[in-house]
């Protein structure tokens, strides 16, 4: 069942003469219990899309249906079952942690919100900070507080715009596990943006790649990385480094040196041929590492293509 349906969504800003198309005719769905990653370089239209899904920005054209209801006509009913957290949104600094959470518990009309918030405070390791003023929290503690707020109404659809941007690796891990557990146990659907590609790979069932307001790819994280033909081969040579360099130049490989280590970008299917050439030339390496392409490689490839164009 599709929890979120977006059809031909477009957002244009500015007068006709200086019109800027932030989101250009995009369509996608998020199913129940699915984590969908929204990726793309800065200015790709990710945040504008999220703003439209929250009703903060009005679409120029297109249709948004959440829980099978048109958004504009059912705003309050829908938002009661949604929530969000974004790196660019804070909570009032002069309120204590519990005061902020109680405010949102009431705003979302959560039943037994006090008990629920106490559980969230424990789960996000904020118990010791419960009575602290929000402006005394570190950026990592703040991010955990914002995530607490995002889960306060047990949302069926959660929009997370770079939620782990300021977290330590161990707390990021806790948050990822928390999200995955919610998805698994309560069928929460999540729309997720992040610049941490490893995190996207771990969390997302599917990824939409936006560039200049358009969807340019839609696939699983593994599917997107398979579109990268190249892999990285790291070789360490104790001797004959000049001969290795000559061989690489002769065969016009793309490579770089760091001391005795060579980093080679090569098509995955040609790795065997390359190793054969080394063997024929009797050039022996002491270590070899073959790194498969990652989502980050796909991201960088798109950015480079954009910059070249």
């Amino acid at each position: 069942m599709a929890i979120l349906q977006v059809k031909n969504l477009t957002k244009k800003f500015g007068p006709p003469a200086k019109r800027f198309i932030a989101v250009n005719n995009i369509s996608f769905e998020v199913k129940e219990g699915e984590v969908l990653g929204l990726l793309g370089p800065n200015g790709a239209g990710k945040t504008t899309t999220i703003d439209m899904l929250l009703g903060l920005t009005k679409p120029t054209t297109g249709e948004i249906k959440i829980f099978d209801l048109p958004f504009e006509e059912n705003r309050e009913r829908i938002l009661k079952q949604m929530n969000f957290s974004a790196a660019y949104v804070n909570l009032p600094w002069r309120l204590k942690v519990w005061e902020n959470l109680y405010t949102f518990g009431r705003l979302y009309e959560v039943e037994n919100y006090k008990e629920k918030i106490e559980i969230l405070i424990k789960e996000f390791k904020l118990s010791d900070l419960r009575n602290n003023l929000t402006d005394s929290l570190s950026s990592g503690q703040l991010t955990r507080l914002y995530l607490c707020k995002a889960f306060v109404n047990n949302p069926r659809l959660l929009l997370l715009d770079e939620p782990t941007a300021f977290l330590d690796p161990d707390v990021s891990d806790l948050v990822r596990k928390y999200i995955l557990n919610k998805v698994k146990t309560e069928k929460t659907s999540v729309l997720f943006t992040s610049h941490n590609m490893a995190e996207v790979t771990e969390l997302c069932d599917r990824v939409i790649f936006l560039n200049e307001g358009k969807i340019i790819a839609e696939d699983t994280p593994a599917g997107l990385t398979r579109r990268i033909k190249f892999c990285r081969v790291r070789l360490f040579f104790d001797s004959n480094i000049n001969k290795v360099e000559l061989l690489l130049k002769n065969y016009q490989y793309i490579f770089s040196f760091t001391g005795k280590e060579i980093l080679l970008n090569i098509e995955e299917e040609k790795v065997g041929q390359f190793l054969g050439r080394l063997s024929l030339a009797k050039l022996k390496y002491s270590q070899i590492t073959i790194e498969k392409p990652t989502l980050e490689d796909y991201f960088l490839k798109v950015i480079r293509n954009k910059n070249e164009n």
């Binding site: 945040t47 903060l56 309050e76 949102f104 009309e109």
Partner: protein, 257 residues
Amino acid sequence: MAVVIRHLYIWPRSPERFMWTFGWPFFGLLIWGLTISFLQKSSSSNFSFITMIIGGIVFWEIIVQPQREISINFIDEMWNKNILNLFASPLTKAEYLTALVIIGIIKMFITLISLTIGSIVLYKFNIFASFGFHIPILFINLIIFGITLGLFVNSLILRFGISVQEIAWAIVAIVQPFVCVLYPLSSLPVWVQRISIILPPTYVFEEMRRILFSNKIEISNLILALLLNIIYLALTLWFFSVMFEKAREHGRLVKLN
């Protein structure tokens, strides 16, 4: 020199700094000039100027408090980068505005109590004893006008962004010379009177002085003020709603954060 030039760059682009340079000194000159000129003309009469001025100050706060609370609490959400949390929640515009109005009225009553006690202790002037059962209609008019000003300021912020936040503090000072807080309508130049008579508080301050001086009241003036207030409030609510939708349409709402 670089710092001087840096501040000169920003000056023409900052309406609030223009107000500091030209606006406030001018309004100060206007209000105190008109007050003193009225006092000079009336120096032979036998009523208590202190009562009139204290009454004016207390009544004026009934406009100022709801306006400031409504506008500054709205701006406070932007300073806190919390405005998107609110409007991305199930909270409706009407609920949000109602909450701002309620907090404005609560704070106004707290101020009113402290000013009443202060004026009794310091000047032996009891506002409730002086105005008796006329107080509800006098206060309702002032409260509605304060609410209207507050909502109007919030609408301007939605339209022009946080850069016009100074108006939250300025608007009452801009209005004050026209609504005859400390001097009667007749002491104003004719062209200013034309503006004053379309502002509901003018009638309230005129009737306040009439009660203090002659213990009489023209209730029709207060009903006219109430009608004007209702019209202005309705127009301002419509204006806020339009500005809110325009802010969503043009992406200005998210920029307020």
